[in-house]
Every structure is written in structure tokens, then in C-alpha cells.
């Protein structure tokens, strides 16, 4: 077991250990390890990056390089609920810009930000592959289709 940190509980460290254990010997597993570790902790505080680097025997700068390259990984703590508004072409044509505008206005956050009470974070993402329902939004993994600047707040009420 490693050290202590405010963001990461003892339990989380244990799980991270087992993630590393499982993949340590598989070449190319770094991205998989990072994905699973993020599922446990939620984001990447610096101690976690250093810890994974040591565990996988990869320079910390390389690990940081990978974390910062892929949009799936976050270097900031996230909100309890993640709002992902699709800004792919089909959704853009059908009014995704207005949807984001309404959410930003209501909760006072821009794309890439988290509300102060950590209730929501807002992200614009590229095509979630549900273009048939454009404009589409994914909240905590649930896909919502045909959202409008008016209906969006109602949907979000359900996520506290």
C-alpha cells in the first residue's frame, strides 16, 4: 500500500494496486490501467500519476504525456454528474450550440468546467454515435436524444 492523500481513500489505493497488479506484465496496457484507475478515483491527482508510473515501471513524464493526450482522462476533479453534450456535426446543425448555451447560463459553467457545488460538469464531446437523435446529450452514461434549449433543464433536474 502506498501513502496517503486527501483525494484518495485507503480503499481506492487498494483497488488501484489490484489494477496495476492485473496489467503490469501486459505490454501496452498503460491506457487500460489509466482508464480503470480513473474509474476508481475519478481523476488524476499528481500522486496517482507518480504511483502508476512506479507500478508500471514507466517514467512519470510518459504517463503524464498519455494522460494529457487523451480526452477521456481528467487532470481535474469532476462533478458528481457528468453532462456531455454532443457537438458533432449532426448535433451542431440541429442546435447543440443553443443547448450548451442554456446549460452554461443556468449553472454558470463553461465547457470543461464544474459547478462550485460539484453537482455537474459540462463537456462538449464529439459525436456520440446517436446522430439519429440529434441533438444528443449523455448524462452519466444515459443517452438523451432530441434535447432542446428548453427541455434540457428538465432532464437535468433528475440528477442531484
Amino acid at each position: 500500500m502506498s501513502c496517503c492523500s486527501e483525494e484518495i481513500s485507503q480503499e481506492m489505493w487498494k483497488e488501484v494496486d489490484s489494477v496495476i497488479e492485473r496489467h503490469r506484465d501486459t505490454p501496452g496496457a498503460l491506457i487500460t490501467v489509466l482508464r480503470e484507475a480513473q474509474n476508481v478515483v475519478g481523476w488524476f491527482p499528481q500522486v496517482l500519476i507518480e504511483y502508476i508510473a512506479k507500478g508500471m515501471n514507466i517514467p512519470a513524464s510518459d504517463v503524464f504525456g498519455v494522460v494529457s493526450f487523451y480526452s477521456l482522462f481528467s487532470l481535474k476533479p469532476k462533478g458528481r454528474n457528468s453532462i456531455k453534450v454532443c457537438t458533432g456535426t449532426a448535433c451542431y446543425v440541429k442546435g447543440a450550440r443553443e443547448v450548451i448555451g442554456r446549460i452554461s447560463g443556468e449553472f454558470g459553467i463553461a465547457e470543461g468546467e464544474t459547478t462550485e457545488d460539484r453537482r455537474f460538469d459540462l463537456e462538449g464531446v464529439r459525436c456520440v454515435g446517436a446522430c439519429g437523435l440529434a441533438p444528443a446529450m449523455v448524462v452519466d452514461g444515459d443517452v438523451h436524444g432530441d434535447v432542446t434549449a428548453d427541455s434540457v433543464l428538465k432532464i437535468l433536474e433528475k440528477y442531484s
Binding site: P27, A29, Y70, A130, G132, A134, G141, A149
Partner: protein, 615 residues
């Protein structure tokens, strides 16, 4: 593990055929694609199960949850077999009636049937709906009629017959020859002949070789790969295994976006089932040939769809492209000979083996064979997946299959090929889908996203949109792409904000030439295509922004000032009720007025007005 024998495969196929054509048994094919899940198909399915049990119909009705049926915008949807009835937009509340009226009393329910957008008439039979009737489902042959989580269902539709034939009757070189006769070209965008690609990898000797499946599907507006993986995952596995046999590979990876959880789940189920039956893994079908497939989840980077970047990503590194040669056929994943193919390409392979290359090449044009799947979306009535023979015109796709433009608006352009593609204006709608013909009008076939845009779309804004995408997704390794596209984006932003300068157009062109000729990978090399195509076909719109400081389509907030056309205003007050900043002044029975000081150009009133009275 016991290996399934060719004899057993045939028996399973017959058992399934008998099961589906049993008299007195109805099959309800309810869509379980991502789109229909989102609109509530799982709830409808549960309710159907309950209601059917209640009526004691368990032995005469079978519910099959299928993958995406293709007509996503109308979900949740269901096809009743053998009645040939199509239901759309079902809710839990409709279920009792469907069961008691249709299934018990044989009275199909009209109000749930498809309504033709032009004639406004209901179309009772599935096979009469133009959206389906005009398609040629080859790649999507199993969509909507098999349960993607059942290998038996797949085998019942000739599944694994191609692999069985290849392993018993064909040499690797025969497989490659058959692919060459078929003339199939890669569906991932570039359109490289698949048989040729395989023959290069086959020529290189190595004890380890790889077959990779590109399921990154980065092009915004494309969702055919997702649908194929969700609806027919075994077809992709079978295609990969045949490719592996052709080049003598031992291992394969499916590189899939993590944004596609349902696809990942279903592919994993399919892999497990195939291994269980000895159709994957060691000593496949007892023939001594071994090949196994693993899923690799991407982590969100458009550039990872590029082949060399994708391989770096599987190696656990930043997904940055490297210069070619050496080509992957010689040095790919872990520096071993590698073949990478797109999902849709691979999904066609088994059928080509079963029916022969000649069969495949009998459809299509001189240089583009077979069929192509398009993801039709945007401002069009029938949104969904469309598979047509190569050589079909865009007009047929948009108007006959797509049902035209909603709300009596006019078509302005069709965007094809994603961020590497271009916009095709109305006057070129008769162009046919064919790699070369489409290139002639300044777009590319790409992976098959077709985004229809009506006259509310600002083409300069679209050009800006694609550049913003490219700019965000550039991996940053080469300067032309990283810096060049940024400069281009800045120019376009300036134009949209009303600060365009006369020399901007030539500046954009100059930058385009420079970036296209010097970027390291396909992302940068094609980054300027959308802008150039807009300049080619919609130059007057650029000029309106630059010289008149006007946005003809009213999409660029800085360039529009909203006002009410008094003669058209019916005094309904809708505009005032939707305005988020109280900029609309309206009293009962009076014409509305917009206070331009307060207006934030959010477009709410403009979109809400039923009478087109806001300009």
C-alpha cells in the same frame, strides 16, 4: 472445448430457419440499438413480456431484441413477423393494445405505423416503406432480424459459413484473389483496395502478424460502425478471422471507442461465444489454424483513427502518427506486419467468401463495387442508416429514401466525409456515390456520414466548425497542422465575428496549400478540405460576411440583428415567452418588438416563431 464441425454448423442453420418459419408463431423484433435504448425500448420490451405472459401467449410469440434497425429517429420501433408490420415511437402505454388488438385479434394498430412525410398517409407494411424498400442491405443484412447476443441466430443466417469454406477449401492466396475479384475498397475513408492491402501483408514473412479492426469511428455524424458492432458483431469477427487466414496472422485487436459501451459489451459476448464453439482461438474448427481477438478501448482522440497513430495507441503510447514508409504491412503493431481494416469493410468479407467475388462486383460502378452504408442525419425527414448500391445518386438518398427536408425548407448542402470531406450544394445532387465521382465535386466518400443542411445553415460557420474540430484534435506533432490550422481558424472566427478582411480569402487558400502539402498525416493533409469546398461552392456567403458584414443564414450572432416583420406577426407572444433575457416586448393583441440592446442573439425567438415573422 469441442470444436464445432461444418456439419454441425449446417444443422444449426437449418434449426434456426425452421424456428423462424414455424407456422403459428409470431416474432416481435424490437430494436435494442443505442438510439432505441435511449428512447425507451427496454421498457417497452419488458412490458411486452409481461403482457404476453398475461394473455397466455408465451408459446406463440417470441420477442427478439435486435441491434439497430436503422431508422433510429423513430424509435423505439418494432417489426412484427410474419405480418410484416412496422411500429414506431412506441411507449409502454401502447403495449396492452398491441398485444390485445394486434396479437390476439389480428387488428394491427394504425396509429403506430409509419406516416409518410409527404402524403401524410400511414404505411401499414414494413416492406412498403420507401426508407427500407429502396435500400440494398448487404452489409446490414442481419440488422433488425437477429439477436446480436446469440451466435445461433447468426449461424442461422449463414454465419461462419464463409470461415468454414475458407478453412477447408481455400488457400490463403485464393482468399486474396477472391477479394480482388470483388473489388471491395476500404470503407474507413481512403478507399484503398482491400485485396491489395492483404496481399502486401501476406508477402512479408514473420512469425507474428496482426489483424486490426478500426472501430474508432471518429468522424462526427457517422454511426454505421457502431450499429454494425451492436447489431452483427459476429460478422466482424468472422471477417477478421478470414483476413487472418489470408495473411497468416495469429492475433487481432478491435480498437473501439470507449464512448460505445453497448458495442463493446456485445462484441465481448460474441468473442466469448465464438471461442466457446472453437470458431476463435486455438485450432479453429479443428483445422490447425489458430487466431484470437481482443478488444482495445480507445481513450478519446480523433487522430487515433489514423492507422499509425492507432497502433501507437494500442502499444500504450500517445496516439501520434509516424511517417510512412515503412507501411504497416511491413512494420505495423509492435513492428510486425499488420493489416488494419474498418468495421464495415470487415463485415462484408464473409459474404464475399460465401457468394464469391463476382457476385459482389456485379453491383456498383466501374471503380466502386458493392454497396455502401451511409449515416443520414441533419435536416432530413428520415434519419437513420441507409445502405445503397454504389452508383446511387445523392438525390435518391436525400429525397426518396430520406423523405426530403422537413418543414418545407430548402436543401442548401450535403456534407460528406466528415472533417476531411466537403459540402455538396443542391445543384450537384445528381452526383452518384462513387469514390471518384464524389471527389470531382469537391467532397470525399469518407466513412459515410451524410449530413443534410437546410437554408438555415451558415456555410462559413460550418467551415469554422470543422476547423475548430481539426484544431482541437490535431495531435500537435507537426507544425503545419498544429499552427497552420490554428491560423486558419482565427481567420474564420474573425470573419464570423464581423471583422473579416478582403485579403482573408486568399490568405485561407495560401495556408491551405501549405498545410496540405506539408502535414505529416491524413488529418492535416485533409484539414482544409471543408473550407475549400465551402469557398468553391458558397463563395458569395463568404463575401457577404466579409464585405457586407452580413450572415445571410442568420447563424453568426455577431452579424445578425433580429427584428419583427410587423405584417407577418400574428401577435401570439411565443417569442416573448421563450426569450431568456426579456428582450422581446409584447402585450396581448399587439405586434412584438425586439429590444436590440438587450438581445443576445440566442436565436430562441427566431426558431420559436411559427409564422417566420422574425428576421
Amino acid at each position: 472445448m469441442t470444436h464445432v464441425t461444418p456439419q454441425r454448423l449446417k444443422e444449426m442453420r437449418q434449426e434456426h430457419a425452421a424456428r423462424i418459419s414455424e407456422p403459428n408463431i409470431r416474432h416481435l423484433f424490437i430494436c435494442g440499438g443505442t438510439g432505441c435504448h435511449a428512447t425507451g425500448s427496454l421498457k417497452v420490451k419488458d412490458a411486452l413480456h409481461e403482457e404476453i405472459a398475461k394473455h397466455g401467449l408465451k408459446d406463440s410469440v417470441r420477442i427478439v431484441e435486435t441491434g439497430c434497425n436503422g431508422f433510429c429517429a423513430l424509435g423505439p420501433l418494432m417489426v412484427v413477423h410474419p405480418d410484416n408490420v412496422f411500429y414506431q415511437k412506441m411507449t409502454r402505454d401502447d403495449v396492452a393494445e398491441i398485444v390485445s388488438e394486434h396479437l390476439v385479434n389480428n387488428n394491427p394498430i394504425e396509429r403506430l405505423m409509419y406516416k409518410d412525410p409527404q402524403s401524410k398517409k400511414r404505411v401499414p407494411l414494413f416492406s412498403d416503406i420507401p426508407f427500407f424498400a429502396l435500400q440494398k442491405p448487404w452489409t446490414l443484412r442481419n440488422k433488425g432480424i437477429i439477436n446480436p447476443e446469440s451466435i445461433e441466430d447468426y449461424i442461422g443466417r449463414d454465419g461462419y459459413m464463409g470461415l468454414s469454406k475458407v478453412l477447408r477449401e481455400m488457400q490463403p492466396s485464393d482468399i486474396i484473389d477472391e477479394m480482388k475479384v470483388a473489388g471491395i475498397r476500404g470503407r474507413g475513408g481512403a478507399g484503398f483496395p482491400t485485396g491489395m492491402k492483404w496481399s502486401f501483408a501476406a508477402q512479408n514473412d514473420s512469425d507474428t502478424k496482426y489483424v486490426l479492426c478500426n472501430a474508432d469511428e471518429g468522424d462526427p455524424g457517422a454511426f454505421m460502425d457502431r450499429s454494425i458492432l451492436e447489431a452483427d458483431p459476429h460478422a466482424v469477427l468472422e471477417g477478421m478471422t478470414i483476413a487472418a487466414r489470408a495473411i497468416n496472422a495469429t492475433e487481432g485487436y478491435i480498437y473501439c471507442r470507449s464512448e460505445y459501451p453497448l458495442a463493446i459489451k456485445r462484441v465481448q459476448i460474441a468473442i466469448d461465444q465464438a471461442r466457446e464453439m472453437g470458431l476463435l482461438g486455438e485450432n479453429i474448427m479443428g483445422t490447425g489454424f489458430s487466431f484470437d481477438i481482443f478488444i482495445y478501448q480507445g481513450a478519446g482522440a480523433f487522430v487515433c483513427g489514423e492507422e499509425t497513430a492507432l497502433m501507437r495507441s494500442i502499444e500504450g503510447k500517445r496516439g501520434m502518427p509516424i511517417p510512412r514508409p515503412p507501411f504497416p504491412a511491413a512494420q505495423g503493431l509492435w513492428k510486425k506486419p499488420t493489416v488494419l481494416n474498418n468495421v464495415e469493410t470487415l463485415a462484408n468479407v464473409a459474404q464475399i467468401m460465401v457468394n464469391g467475388g463476382k457476385w459482389y462486383s456485379s453491383v456498383g460502378t466501374e471503380n466502386s463495387k458493392g454497396t455502401k452504408v451511409f449515416a443520414l442525419s441533419g435536416d432530413v425527414n428520415n434519419i437513420g442508416l441507409v445502405e445503397v448500391p454504389m452508383g446511387t445518386s445523392l438525390r435518391t438518398i436525400v429525397y426518396d429514401i430520406g423523405g426530403g427536408i422537413p418543414k418545407k425548407r430548402k436543401l442548401k448542402a450535403v456534407q460528406l466525409g466528415g472533417p476531411s470531406g466537403g459540402c455538396i450544394p443542391e445543384e450537384h445532387m445528381d452526383v452518384v456515390v462513387d469514390y471518384e465521382e464524389i471527389a470531382k465535386v469537391g467532397a470525399i466518400m469518407g466513412s459515410g456520414g451524410v449530413i443534410v443542411m437546410d437554408d438555415k445553415t451558415c456555410m462559413v460557420d460550418m467551415a469554422r466548425f470543422f476547423l475548430e474540430f481539426i484544431q482541437e484534435e490535431s495531435c500537435g506533432k507537426c507544425t503545419p497542422c498544429r499552427e497552420g490550422t490554428r491560423r486558419q481558424l482565427e481567420i474564420l472566427e474573425r470573419i464570423c465575428e464581423g471583422h473579416g478582411k478582403p485579403e482573408d480569402i486568399s490568405l485561407i487558400k495560401e495556408l491551405s496549400e501549405m498545410i496540405t502539402s506539408s502535414a505529416l498525416c491524413g488529418l492535416g493533409q485533409t484539414a482544409s478540405n471543408p473550407v475549400l469546398s465551402v469557398l468553391r461552392h458558397f463563395r458569395e456567403e463568404f463575401e457577404a460576411h466579409i464585405f457586407e458584414k452580413k450572415c445571410p443564414a442568420k447563424r453568426c450572432p455577431a452579424l445578425v440583428e433580429f427584428k419583427v416583420i410587423d405584417e407577418r406577426c400574428k401577435k401570439c407572444g411565443k417569442c416573448a415567452s421563450v426569450c431568456p433575457v426579456g428582450a422581446v416586448e409584447w402585450k396581448k393583441k399587439e405586434v412584438a418588438k425586439i429590444n436590440t440592446e438587450l438581445c443576445v442573439q440566442c436565436m430562441s425567438c427566431y426558431s420559436a416563431c411559427p409564422f417566420d415573422a422574425i428576421d
